[in-house]
Amino acid sequence: MNDVCSINNLTQCLLDGGVSPDLANLLTILGGVVLVATVPLVTVIFLIWIERKIAARVQDRLGPNRVGPFGLLQSVADAVKMLTKEDITPMGADKFIYNLAPIIAFATVVLIWAIIPFTPLHIGADLSIGILYFVAVASIGTVKIMIAGWSSNNKYALLGAFRTIAQLLSYEVPLVLSLLIPVMIAGTLGMQDMVRAQGSMWFVFMAPVAAVMFFIANLAETGRAPFDLLEAESEIIAGYNIEYSGFKWGMFMAGEFMHAFTAALLAAVIFLGGWWGPFVEQVPALGFVYLGLKTAVVYIFGLILRSTVPRVRIDQLMALNWKWLVPISVANVLITALLLKVVDAIGLAPQSGDFFAHLPQTLVLLVGNLVLMFGVATVLRNRGRAQRLADEAAHPVEHEDAPVVVGAVGH
């Protein structure tokens, strides 16, 4: 064959060139891995710039605008600065695992990109257990924090690592529980099948509570505001990466930005319909564009949230998770499972891939979600009112007398 050897028929080209089938398969997979792994690395440079610009605009200032047009090369300048910094290893640190922690920090985020369906035809690895793979990789992230905090030989780093792990492990529970809802609706754990199941109706309309839970749990998992108590620059304990300097710290930071972007990407794939959009069946490359737009919406919303909402304390964080998010997620799973079975039994389940065929199930699930949110809002309002009344009874507010008007006329 004299076809052009592109990425689509690389295997065939290698086989024609006389390479054994196993080796050809391996080389094609390696090429795919390199492609998929390079995209997040390149995206990080852009992400840092957009974060600083949006934070600046919310705070009514300009942001980086000196290096390059609109400050686009600021990240490159930062990277050069970090590369030329002195690489200090603290005395008494455990060298091997001290150097291993940034590598794991980066690797566990890039690993998630393997299962993301970019277009109907392009996916890294179409695993049948895609979502479970994502949860498993997210839970490896705690290992890196532990070894980073431990190997720094610094008790503040260790304390910061303990708190970070408590936060991460706690917020994994609502993350997994809220992921159960789209799995139940789609009936599969695989990512490409889940995106295909959203052809007529995005899951965010069928399960808004689950989408919000997923978003909040991801904010806490990636350590973004308002849950960034543990890495904030203004806190005394700067977290588990105190003792890291230069490029290793840079890898931690890049891993954190990439994790936030990957979480937004997953929210777009699971809840916002992935690569679906007009004409995507005919021109699959449009899938990249649609997915990028949806991810950008979620990510920029997260960035604006970061600059707007105040930081949460560690005990408020734990109380929020165990007293509010976990019961709401469990109730959500119960209600959705019940409603799905009821819809199936009545016969309103969507048989065809039509928009209007999905409408009854969507409306039923929406009503269920609204009932749940109404219940939560009622509980919140009653508690808030009781707290306010208790506060007022303890500290009565002085009511001033009406001001006496000194009459000027007719004195």
């Binding site: 398969n25 257990i129 949860v135 498993a136 990789v137 070894i147 492990l169």
Partner: protein, 175 residues
Amino acid sequence: MFELNAQSIAFILFALFSLGGALGVVTTRNLIHATLYLILSLFGAAGFFVLLSAPFMAAVQVLVYIGAIAILIVFAVMLTRSMTRLSDIYNSQWLLSAIVAGLLFVLLLVGVILPVWGVNGTQAGREVSSIVTTTVDLGKALVDQNQYVLPFEVASLLLTAAMIGAIVVARDDKE
């Protein structure tokens, strides 16, 4: 019998992870290093599960063992640091236990390689079928009333009881 294709290379790699990690666990003095070797061995086992067409088990292995149990062990190691770092790591009967473990290994190898169980032993040349059940079948089997729903429910009760028990036992009740 043993051709060198991608599966064999993957098997050798995961076997090295499993055995090397296990050896590291029992020979290291530093317990944090021992935990990291344990994590390596568990990764090797997860790789085996992928090779054996059980991807759900591999993901659950990483999620439960590495993401939860290994972290728990690291916390326990950090909370129970002994002051004297110069104590022995083996007790007085280490030689006897090494001999016993070695004999057990030889016995198991003999039972696995030689056809001691008769015709249907592990060396029987049966064809490895390529029809494998999927994760959906596992899910159905765990809630099917004729299959494994009762052990499933009992296991969840066990986990709840263990969690409550662990919290009660480890709680600091000086207050």
